[in-house]
Assembly symmetry: C2
Homo-oligomer: 490 residues x 2
């Protein structure tokens, strides 16, 4: 059974809802499949209209939606209003991509006369929708990665019906958002099964959805444990389906000596803000900060600890997330060689304490328990003696959504081979490599890549943010000797 919990008080509010049954889920999947061919053949223009209609409805219902989101998540009105704007912008960007018309027709090659291998028929490369997509909503972005968020928008843009599995931490908001999407679907004259919602407090709903024969792909944002379990189910089906899971991420940030030479105080302040943004509940929250041993590094770490001590993160999304955070930072505090620089106490308070713990690179590397993500307003400072240790720490972290390197000069002549090796290593472990700024905040654009090597993503060649998110739900088809009228339809 699902209840709407006030994130600030922990008290249930209003109605409760029964979990979707196995029959509900199978029916939703079959209905989605029954409309998949028609929706695939809907014009890109109609799909753009659907996305824009969704955006308009979110804007019109903003006040009620944001209030509901605030009650169920405790993320605060400024953040939630900004996130709603971002969600509407995201819908509009996919609509624009559809308008521009490069979604389905990729390449049209004329026939070449002569014998093979040089000679060949006319070949036209197009992309077709995969079919019904199951979207698992995230808890930490109740608009941008939930019912009407990036996964839903990109799947609908691609021409795939969507079945959202609502996140149990914001059930009332999920239903309110689903009503808006359903109204947009109806307004565009599309069948209702183009968008459906299922819900449940336990794992049974998600398991059934991933196993439903009619489901063609899954998009998931959540924990490593849940994501891996569902990915394994998707791979074990008699017809395996792609599982696009965005799981945990450590997001290392490397401070090179040149970044300590000037502006270190401003950098420390920006980093403290990034670590505590949304109480650290961002998949791109910087979790490990690599700082060279020595005086300039000491000063930077001291400034960072001071900034963090002055910040009071708001409450966390759920009691469960809070418990995991406390046990995660406890493990850091009690690790060999650990030194607590901020957040000594706070376990009992209503809100979590911004926490900074420091270890040497040697201590970090010999304790695998330190290499896991701690989801919340905390970071681990790892002090390194040489560039080689930075490479080793990056390798130990393995897959991550982002890696940030501060202090690389814009002047190529000053770049050493060591720096080249560091940048290369960063591209080996991360989906996005930053050379300025902080990793929180992910632009919705064509070049974006949100998804790194496992375990950051179960499908590292794909992104869940940005226009390329659509690529996940489209499959290339080569048309050979196709008539002109057919090619013109793509």
């Amino acid at each position: 059974m699902l209840e709407s919990i006030n994130a600030r008080t922990g008290m249930a509010h209003g109605a409760s809802w029964a979990d979707s049954t196995a029959q509900d889920i199978d029916l939703a999947a079959r209905q989605a499949q029954s409309v998949a061919s028609d929706f695939a053949r809907a014009t890109p223009g109609l799909r753009a209209e659907l996305l824009r209609s969704m955006g308009q409805r979110l804007l019109s219902a903003r006040e009620a939606l944001v209030a509901l989101a605030d009650r169920e998540t405790g993320l605060g009105l400024p953040r939630l209003n900004g996130e709603l704007d971002r969600t509407v912008y995201q819908l509009e960007q996919f609509a624009l991509a559809l308008d521009q018309g490069a979604v389905h027709l990729l390449l049209d090659e004329p026939a070449v006369a002569g014998a093979a291998p040089v000679g060949r028929p006319r070949m036209t490369r197009i992309r077709v929708p995969l079919g019904p997509v199951a979207v698992f909503a995230a808890s930490n972005f109740p608009f941008a990665f939930s019912v009407a968020g990036g996964d839903t928008a990109s799947a609908l843009a691609a021409g795939c019906p969507v079945i959202v599995k609502a996140h149990p931490a914001h059930p009332a908001l999920s239903l309110a958002l689903a009503e808006q999407v359903q109204a947009a679907v109806a307004q565009c004259g599309l069948p209702a099964a183009v968008f459906q919602l299922v819900q449940g407090a336990g794992i049974a709903v998600g398991v059934r959805l991933v196993q439903a024969p009619a489901v063609a792909a899954v998009a998931f944002t959540g924990s490593l444990q849940a994501g891996r379990a569902l990915a394994d189910l998707a791979a074990a089906r008699s017809r395996p389906i792609p599982f696009f899971g965005e799981l945990g991420s450590v997001n290392p940030l490397i401070v090179l000596p040149s970044a300590l030479a000037s502006g270190a105080a401003e950098r420390a302040a920006a980093l403290a803000q990034s670590i505590t943004l949304g109480a650290g509940q961002f998949c791109t929250s910087p979790g490990v900060i690599l700082v060279p041993q020595g005086e300039p590094g000491d000063g930077f770490v001291h400034a960072l600890a001071g900034q963090l001590s002055q910040l009071q993160p708001h409450g966390m999304l759920t009691a469960g997330i809070r418990r995991n955070f406390e046990s995660g930072v406890d493990a850091w505090r009690h690790a060999g060689g650990a030194q607590v620089l901020a957040g000594l106490e706070g376990n009992a308070a209503a809100t979590p304490a911004a926490t900074l713990v420091q270890v040497s690179a040697a201590d970090y590397l010999r304790q695998p328990a330190l290499q896991h993500e701690v989801f919340g307003p905390a970071a681990l400072v790892v002090r390194t003696q040489a560039m080689n240790e930075m490479l080793e720490v990056l390798a130990a972290i393995g897959g991550t959504l982002t890696a940030t390197i501060w202090g690389i000069d814009g002047d190529a002549a000053q770049v050493t081979e060591e720096v080249h090796a560091l940048v290369h290593r960063a591209t080996e472990v991360a989906g996005r490599v930053l050379f300025a700024g902080v990793p929180t905040g992910v632009a919705v654009t064509a070049a974006q890549q949100h998804g790194g090597p496992y375990p950051a993503s179960t499908a590292p060649a794909t992104t869940s943010v940005g226009l390329a998110a659509m690529d996940r739900f489209l499959r290339p088809v080569a048309l050979q000797d196709a008539p002109d009228w057919l090619i013109q339809r793509y």
Copy 2:
């Protein structure tokens, strides 16, 4: 233990080789990983040079290689010389793509001033190699999909070291090809671990290779049973890796009434050639022919059976493939409602008989055993009463590499809604849809797509033929606020 078997006599010839040990395989994977970063940073120009050097060496050694291939596969000199040409052309096409420079840098977006979501930093989308790729060679294309074939070429082009698991049906050829590739690697001044070969008669070698922690991706061409088993192992690793498996395919060919109106005899002759090409040992061999009930269809089927009866396919690749073929056609012959039109006998002969069996669509749909691929020179004619039965047969076949539709008019005004539905269904089940010609013969070009919905492929969004085959081994990375000198390196 591996032996070189003469495909025509079944007798062992010359030396035998021990299977690679678990230690050999682990060492190969670690050595590949140890050179992966350096090879990833090799210039695209150097990789193009490697591919061209491989091609030159294949041409220089043509006579010996083709003779060896003919002894171990029995495919005949004309076919094998043509396949060698195609393999060299394939290497050259990837080299050209590297020359043209669009492999790594995908998109460079300038910063946009202002607040998010509109404002954003400079974002540059690049692609980086995945790391060591395990390539499982196919038996049926000893050049084009073996040691120096498409998977190896596309992985090296992408900047990934390759470990080939040789196909046990042509071990002597595999070693001779590997020597040529190794010489090319040395000539280009690259470390030897950029290309390695392992071998074995049993499944242990492949299992160990897929499970080796240092392997980052697998490319496989082979049977559904072996491919699915290895795909499951790849998904079950502690760090799952992508498994690009090209498995079985039925390749339906649909004859619409308008294709029977004229030129039916020529079409029947072309189809008979396609069914028996290479003794039917092509993954794109047409296995199910859909023909409308009635007189014109009867005439076409009669002509096809007549053509097939006059063709004598050459011997098959291995005794095991021959056994599977005979048991497959036996199941067809004894299915309910089956009528044998060609290939009544032949089980005991040295070479297989070209076989044609006919059933009604109703009989086909009610007998799932008929819906599996039979690898060899045989096709099943399915007689349909209405377009709707054609849609149902395509749905029953499910994933396939190709679907061919004969008889669609070039004039859009004459195209019915039924034809639109048929074309759409074909794009739903196939990776390539043909509107003329036969599906055997796969052009190496940018628009090509060789890989359809499961079970045709374990990764239906990817292709194993054509320039997009490289995409399998590259992972996108977004660079945020990167300095110019770095972007210029991609």
